[in-house]
């Protein structure tokens, strides 16, 4: 096996397209995930997240384009170094916990001798030592989730892909896993984190990639994205006619909230011009250019009719394109 250098990105997709029976799941996607990043994959259901992940895992082959993982074309050799927790995951109900983790670890090319101490260590850390010899069907849903998590990471992968890892977990266990992801982050491991919960993405991720209808609509570091869209949302409070806000230059939409209005500006619109327009007409108590929440961006980018806005909302990161 040729060695790869740590300077190479963890994942690089170049002009990747994948169709299923005439339906284009991923369309001409290019994406670079630097090593050591915690990268969020977001997007509505059916957008192409899972198809993208499956191509990274070499489960699906792209119709066109290249997929590189850890410096090598995606293939059997690369998947050994990746831990993947799919969204649709399950266990063999009749297998006991330790045997199951051992089996999945051995499928990743690790020996029994390597795995057994790691299994014990992980079971202890996740509070499952007492359940080591129990059948999976005897475990609660949350415990099964933790077993699945251990099976994903027991072979000590360089890249971890977690698809909705917190679903089914109580807040305590969710925090336990968040802590583990934080540790990996500090240790320089690369984590791809697919989720519908934007708060989790904001809390854990350095960078975010959003896909909608198979196309990339957002890609960059969280800070850059928020900075990029910062001026497009303005919070206004005070006294005056709502129509004044609607008619202000560069305002695309006005959203009513208790005690305030949220002005959504047109791309490139200058908040200062809006402020100048309102001064003297609207008794302003507050005028604030607000950092957009990922949740708001998601709704805006994934909302009806927004798929055509692809490309215009993509920012470039240090490791990106």
């Amino acid at each position: 096996m040729a060695s790869s250098t740590s300077a190479e990105p963890a994942v690089r997709l170049t002009d990747v397209t994948k169709s299923f029976g005439g339906h284009v799941a991923v369309n001409d996607l290019s994406l670079t995930i630097p090593r050591g990043a915690v990268y969020g994959f977001i997007g509505p259901n059916g957008a192409g997240k899972t198809s993208t992940i499956r191509m990274i895992m070499h489960i699906h082959l792209p119709d066109r384009g290249q997929v590189e993982v850890l410096g090598r074309p995606a293939g059997r050799e690369t998947t050994e170094r990746v831990g993947y927790l799919p969204e649709e995951r399950g266990l063999y109900p009749k297998m006991n916990v330790a045997e199951l983790i051992l089996y999945l670890g051995r499928l990743k090319g690790r020996s029994r001798a390597e795995l057994l101490p790691r299994i014990d260590a992980w079971l202890e850390r996740m509070g499952l030592t007492a359940w080591r010899a129990k059948k999976c069907q005897e475990l609660s849903k949350g415990m099964q989730q933790k077993v699945q998590f251990i099976a994903t990471v027991v072979h000590d992968p360089d890249l971890v892909i977690l698809d909705e890892p917190f679903s089914g977990l109580d807040p305590l266990n969710a925090e336990l896993m968040i802590g583990i992801v934080d540790e990996w982050k500090r240790a320089g491991k690369t984590v791809i984190f697919s989720t519908h919960v934007m708060e989790h993405a904001e809390k854990l991720c350095d960078s975010v990639f959003m896909i909608c209808k198979g196309r990339k609509v957002l890609d960059g570091s969280l800070g850059e994205i928020q900075s990029r869209y910062r001026e497009e949302v303005v919070d206004v409070a005070g006294e005056g006619a709502r129509s004044l806000l609607v008619g202000a230059p560069g305002v695309r939409a006005v959203h009513d909230h208790p005690g305030r209005f949220e002005l959504e500006l047109e791309p490139g619109a200058d908040p200062q011009r809006v402020l100048a327009h309102l001064v003297g007409r609207f008794k302003l108590a507050r005028f604030e250019s607000r950092t957009p929440r990922l949740h708001d961006l998601f709704l805006r980018l994934a909302g009806p009719g927004e798929a055509t806005a692809t490309g215009t909302m993509t920012t470039t990161t240090a490791g990106g394109e």
């Binding site: 029976g21 995951r89 399950g90 063999y92 999945l104």
Partner: protein
């Protein structure tokens, strides 16, 4: 990657053979064989005891005594738990001797029926007055209608009992009466019964089979081997049944395991570590090993039984034949296994699979339906077709190899090639279907979907 295929194979193998259900199933078949052999003898020990009383009214006056002698001999046999008691009816005392037979018979039957209902009798035997005479050729004499029926009654016997199904008393009595009557009739015709006994002595009919070296097709120099038609056919049929059960058992395991992994959603975790084709290979090997365990256990039991009853024919377990049996078993398993695993990958539940299994069941039935024809007409066009068709060859060809004379070598080799081609085609198709179908959800795919999957590049 081979080690990972083996890891999958061993998991699937252990997941099945470690279960109680498998162990019970494994023991069940040999147990069934032993029970089917020993059960009749065992049950005979628990048969009814006591006596069955029959009234015997003999208008001929000739059968009563020999039947009584027969009953005494029969009852004296060792282990005879149920005694037959024949109670002679005094026809003269009842005033029935001078009456016309039909009338007297009806009168007596009514009385005996009452006694039977009262529990005094189990049944009765009425013996016609002319029963010991040689009857006239009724057809030739054109005697018809009522007269003919009445005449027939006088030459015959009537048996009645509370049950015609309980035990074998009816058959025993009929057999005894027929045998005695035959003697009486021969004597009345002036034929010496001792001469008849000698004439009737069973003609010795020895059966031999000419052994043939299947490998070279030459007649063996050792001459003939004593055998029988039933012996020659027992092992080949047992072989078909055994191979079919072994293949179906292991292919069934494969189907269930695939559906389970798909419905449990384990499959995506697996294919993120091992390619779908390698996973398929591992599953096939695991199921094959399961089938081998079954086949070895049942085969050993069958071989023991066949050996015990001297049903193994010459050369049926020769090294060459065993090698061919193994080849066709592996081929048959891979053929049906690949079809089963493809169906398993397409379905989300056993119910879905049952709907898709219908055409496969027809393929499974083919060797069972054709086996008798092949045994009786081994060189017919239909037999050759069944020997060469990939889905029937794995069962039919071993059967033919076990049958004497074995098929020509070119047929065996062509069947082996046909199975090999079938295996390659089925495995490739199953691999393509498996790779795509394991991610499908909802209803099973339609033919159009399958065709599209099959045409996708590897």
């Amino acid at each position: 990657m081979a080690s990972r295929i083996w890891v999958v194979a061993m998991r699937d193998f252990n997941a099945v053979v470690r279960t109680k259900g498998f162990v019970i199933g494994l023991l069940f078949m040999p147990l069934l064989m032993m029970v089917s052999i020993g059960l009749p003898k065992l049950l005979a020990r628990f048969g009814e005891q006591g006596e069955r009383r029959f009234a015997v009214a003999d208008w001929s006056g000739q059968l009563q005594v020999p039947l009584a002698a027969w009953a005494a001999a029969r009852n004296a046999q060792p282990g005879q738990r149920l005694q037959i008691v024949l109670e002679p009816v005094d026809l003269a005392a009842k005033g029935l001797a001078g009456q016309p037979y039909a009338q007297a018979r009806a009168t007596l039957a009514a009385e005996l029926a009452d006694r039977a209902r009262a529990g005094e009798l189990f049944g009765w035997l009425l013996i016609g007055p002319r029963v010991a005479q040689v009857p006239p050729d009724l057809v030739a004499s054109a005697v018809e209608g009522e007269a003919s029926a009445a005449t027939k009654d006088e030459f015959g016997l009537a048996y009645a009992a509370l049950s015609l199904t309980v035990g074998e008393l009816r058959q025993e009595l009929r057999g005894a009466a027929r045998e005695q009557l035959r003697k009486l009739r021969l004597e009345s015709a002036g034929v010496d019964p001792a001469l008849i006994a000698r004439i009737d002595r069973e003609v010795k009919f020895e059966e031999f089979v000419v052994p043939r070296d299947a490998a070279t097709g030459k007649n063996a120099a050792s001459g003939m081997v004593r055998s029988s038609g039933s012996k020659e056919v027992a092992f080949p049929i047992a072989l078909v049944v055994l191979l079919l059960m072994g293949i179906m058992q292991s292919a069934g395991v494969l189907l269930n395991a695939t559906i389970e992994e798909k419905s449990n959603r384990v499959i995506e975790v697996l294919v993120s570590s091992i390619s779908a084709v390698d996973l398929l290979a591992g599953k096939l090997i695991g199921a094959f090993l399961t089938g081998m365990v079954v086949l070895l256990a049942w085969g050993a039991a069958a071989a023991f039984t066949a050996g015990h009853f001297d049903l193994l024919t010459a050369g049926s377990l020769s090294a060459a034949n065993v090698a061919w049996y193994t080849y066709f078993f592996v081929g048959g398993f891979l053929l049906f296994g690949s079809v089963y695993v493809a169906i398993g990958a397409m379905c989300n539940s056993i119910q879905d699979a049952q709907n898709l299994m219908f055409p496969v069941v027809l393929l499974i039935m083919l060797p069972m339906l054709g086996m008798t024809h092949v045994l009786q007409h081994p060189d017919s066009a239909v037999s050759h077709a069944l020997m060469l068709f990939p889905f029937s060859a794995p069962m039919i060809m071993p059967m033919r190899l076990a049958q004497s004379p074995p098929p020509q070598l070119w047929l065996v080799v062509t069947a082996a090639a046909s199975v090999a081609v079938g295996v390659v085609v089925c495995l490739l198709a199953a691999g393509k279907i498996f790779r795509v179908a394991i991610f499908s959800s909802g209803k099973p795919p339609k033919l159009g979907d399958l065709w599209r999957w099959l045409r996708e590049p590897s």
